[in-house]
Symmetry: C2
DNA sequence: TTTATTAGTTAAGCGGCCTGAACTATATCC
DNA sequence: GGATATAGTTCAGGCCGCTTAACTAATAAA
């Protein structure tokens, strides 16, 4: 049994460092792309799961349908997402990333990735291997719990 | 030598999952606290390093001094940060978290921490130990590169 | 088939955050 | 000591994203 105190502390320290960096990078990404928090949120959401509707996006973001519709519309006009009629329910729309949108949001993720790669550069192969194993575990476990 | 492809892939997958979660939690935190992106940014910054000035905060956020001053003022009025005159340069102000502010931002970090703890619950002690070692390495390495 | 519900859009208005400019006060340089 | 620079504040104005409300169109229910 691991000492719970240490476990919690390590995770908290790591969260702090990671969150600080995340916010900094996120702001930079917003500046570079000219996109709002919500717009980036929508792109991330669609990267994970496409073919969602406008209302679904809205509730995901915690805003009204109207706001979601407007945000979506802006992204469509920018050519970042595609909005097509759902053939099975012609009231509904299916949203999906365009190649351009996918490239953009993946570039944002890559900034984060390269940061991690950068800070692991100086480590030994054994340490790097351990980090890979740990991150793989975490990713798998996270995927299992998120729905 | 590790296969670079795998290394990059693992980190990218992990980044994607965690960024998605981060954004979701962040939005919730904004709603709950009623604070803006910039305001939370300032609190995080002050958690990491107190006694910074208003301009420093502004450049950290990529906004003008005027905007930084306004954001700081709101946080002061909310009782989340403290703004005192720098005795060595009476033009400057020293900013620091109040206990209330510290508690608030630490609660935000704790959400992230508990999430990680939650997803590692089902793992074996060996796996948990490996994750702890890996996160410790990452935290240390990250601290070494940021200044 | 008439009624009610659901998905999405549009328009008007509001509030928040940001900027530029003008200002105060302190510090530094010659 | 006088000119210049620096730290911060205040104000007016603009932009952007959100909300409410009214609307269209399509589906489900009666």
């Amino acid at each position: 049994m691991l000492p719970t105190i240490v476990f919690t502390d390590v995770i908290r320290e790591w969260s702090e460092v990671f969150m600080q960096r995340s916010m900094h990078d996120f702001r930079k990404f917003m500046e570079e792309t000219g996109l709002s928090f919500s717009q980036i949120n929508i792109l991330m959401r669609l990267l994970h799961r496409g073919n969602t509707g406008v209302s679904e996006v809205g509730s995901q973001l915690g805003v009204t349908n109207a706001a979601a519709s407007q945000a979506v519309d802006r992204l469509v006009q920018l050519g970042l997402i595609e909005r097509t009629e759902d053939p099975e329910d012609r009231r509904a729309k299916k949203l999906a990333l365009t190649p351009k949108g996918r490239t953009l949001i993946e570039k944002g993720i890559e900034v984060r990735s390269r940061w991690v790669e950068g800070i692991t550069d100086a480590l030994t192969p054994e340490q790097q291997g351990m980090i890979i194993s740990a991150l793989t575990l975490l990713t798998t476990a996270a995927r299992a719990t998120r729905e």
